[in-house]
């Protein structure tokens, strides 16, 4: 699967309801497609989307894999639907955690990682956290504990897209890999998280320490021609929508 495939599906889903988070879903399209391509996220490894509002990207990936049928995509954010606005594990088992209230996913990921150690499984646990989400205190509870428990099977990915709901990120200092290194993680920055080749070269899982991947991304990845804007919860106009689709389909 490709990142633009994910973007097209996510975009249509969100525009059909006039509700959803485009920028947040677009910025993680490359890393999501990378993870689904290189790991077995259906039968073995786990992906916890702590920034749950970006779930359209995951619904898109699961659609491409045939887990969510095409017809079901139109039920996104509708009543009686499995495709809730934020991931609901009870409804779709391939969504490995129920998230949406920011700050809680990394703790859940620790639970998965501990369980995997206890079961002597070599599965990997991935957790995608938003950069704004790093402002939540619980994330730091989890960051402190993970290396202490020796959870080298846990990979946390910070999606540094530079924006949060009300504007540019107010806590850029969290981009500093030395912070996580100081807590005992293996920290690595990937400077262009929206370039699949860069991710391919830069992605690394440390063998003995938990891994913190600081991914520098853009919310307007895939629609750069529209300029820099906080695409958190806002939607393109009908005209912009058409243009974005054209661009994404062309690059496809």
């Amino acid at each position: 699967m490709t990142a633009n495939q994910i973007r097209l599906i996510a975009l249509d889903m969100i525009m059909s309801k006039g509700s959803g988070h485009i920028g947040s879903s677009f910025s993680i399209a490359e890393i999501v497609s990378y993870l689904y391509e290189h790991f077995d996220l259906i039968n073995k490894d786990k992906l916890i989307l702590s920034k749950g509002h970006a779930v359209p990207a995951i619904y898109a990936a699961l659609n491409i894999l045939g887990i969510i049928p095409d017809e079901e995509l139109t039920t996104f954010r509708e009543v009686n639907s499995r495709l809730q606005g934020h991931p609901c594990h009870k409804l779709i088992p391939e969504l490995h955690a129920t998230t949406g209230s920011l700050g809680q996913g990394l703790s859940i990921a620790i639970g998965h990682a501990i369980a995997s150690k206890m079961e002597k499984s070599d599965r990997k646990i991935f957790c995608i956290v938003g950069d704004g989400e790093m402002q939540e205190g619980q994330i730091w509870e989890a960051i402190q504990l993970t290396p202490t428990l020796g959870l080298n099977n846990l990979v946390c990915i910070i999606d540094n897209n530079g924006y949060q709901n009300d504007g540019p990120i107010i806590n850029e200092r969290i981009y500093n890999p030395y912070i996580y290194d100081g807590f005992g993680w293996f920290a690595r920055e990937i400077m262009n998280g929206n370039d699949s080749i860069v991710i391919e070269h830069g992605f690394q899982i440390h063998d003995s320490r938990p891994t913190m991947l600081i991914l520098h991304t853009r919310k307007n990845a895939g629609m750069e021609f529209l300029g820099e804007k906080n695409w958190h919860g806002s939607l393109p106009t009908e005209e912009e929508y058409k243009q974005i689709k054209e661009k994404l389909s062309a690059k496809h």
């Binding site: 809680q104 703790s107 509870e141 989890a142």
Partner: protein, 313 residues
């Protein structure tokens, strides 16, 4: 006399011997929550999370995905204080885990209000998917822990720190509302006093019941409730009785509220209803006996309140 928390710690080990999916999450309070022995016995199943309640709750959620049955142990005030994590990561997620909230009520005494679980039942009661327990004796505690391990669910259990007199025998067939005492009188002139109590207030409530039976002309019946949610009283509250609820918890959102809901829904008109508890006031720290006296939960202060109630009737 054994304390509720000791009984809990003991039974947890018994259950863990039978079920290797039982794990214990500690939040730097293994001593006070009496899970130290579990740690010694099952070091691989004891996970020290450090002082991070929200994190521990999330970890329990993740563990439950793999069939582990986590017991998350801390003071009731601190655990229930992480309402959003309990709500989203446990209840809404459909996770099964047991939240052990120790030191409910005034009983911690000298440490003071920030350490007391006074509104914990109220906080959690509205959450679908969670059941709330409040055992009053060591045997009842062991029965409930055993029951929760046989019937895995998301549960919050108040576990008292104090020693508790035993009133019940162990039983596999669990009754969440038990009659603790009934005093009948020949040709009573007035309707009976019905007392519903819960958790560690059982002893004081029993003494109150006997005193009222002795000193008034009324029949007295007292029931102990060890499961506050769902709550179903015994179907013996006749109309025109005097109903008292007694809990070491706010009068809002606990047993008193559950009883009022029941009375109204069942269209039972009682003569008087009086809730004993921490009544819309901040208590304080001090010697426990002094606190119970000052905040109206000692035998003597409750007796005085009831006598005044009967006079003013």
């Amino acid at each position: 006399m054994q304390s509720i928390r000791e009984a809990f710690g003991q039974q947890l080990i018994e259950e863990a011997k039978k079920d290797n999916k039982i794990v214990c999450l500690s939040i730097d309070l293994a001593g006070p929550t009496k899970t130290q022995k579990f740690k010694n016995e099952f070091p691989d199943r004891f996970i020290e999370c450090g002082i991070s309640e929200a994190n521990a709750i999330g970890i329990a959620s993740g563990l439950s995905e793999y069939g582990f049955y986590p017991f998350v142990c801390s003071f009731g005030s601190f655990l229930s204080g992480r309402y959003d994590q309990i709500r989203c990561s446990l209840a809404y997620s459909g996770a099964k885990a047991v939240l052990i909230g120790t030191h409910p009520g005034l009983a911690i005494g000298r440490d003071g209000v920030t350490q007391m679980g006074l509104e914990d039942v109220n906080v959690l009661r509205a959450l679908p998917s969670i059941n709330i327990y409040n055992p009053g004796t060591p045997n009842e505690t062991k029965d409930i822990i055993q029951y929760l391990c046989k019937n895995k669910q998301l549960a919050y259990v108040r576990i008292g720190r104090q020693e508790a007199e035993e009133f019940f025998t162990r039983s596999e067939q669990i009754d969440f509302v038990k009659k603790a005492f009934s005093g009948y009188k020949k040709d009573p002139k007035y309707k009976e006093i019905v007392i519903y109590t819960t958790g560690c207030m059982l002893k004081n409530s029993m003494e109150l019941a006997k005193l009222l039976f002795e000193k008034t002309d009324r029949e007295v019946h007292i029931y102990h409730v060890s499961r506050l949610k769902p709550f179903r009283p015994c179907n013996t509250i006749g109309s025109r009785s005097i109903v008292l609820t007694i809990e070491d918890h706010s009068t809002i959102g606990g047993l008193a509220t559950a009883m009022c809901e029941y009375l109204v829904e069942s269209k039972i008109t009682v003569e008087s209803f009086y809730p004993f508890g921490i009544d819309r006031i901040w208590p304080e720290g001090g010697k426990p006996e002094d606190l119970y006296q000052k905040y109206g939960l000692s035998i003597e202060s409750m007796f005085q309140s009831v006598m005044k109630l009967l006079e003013n009737r």
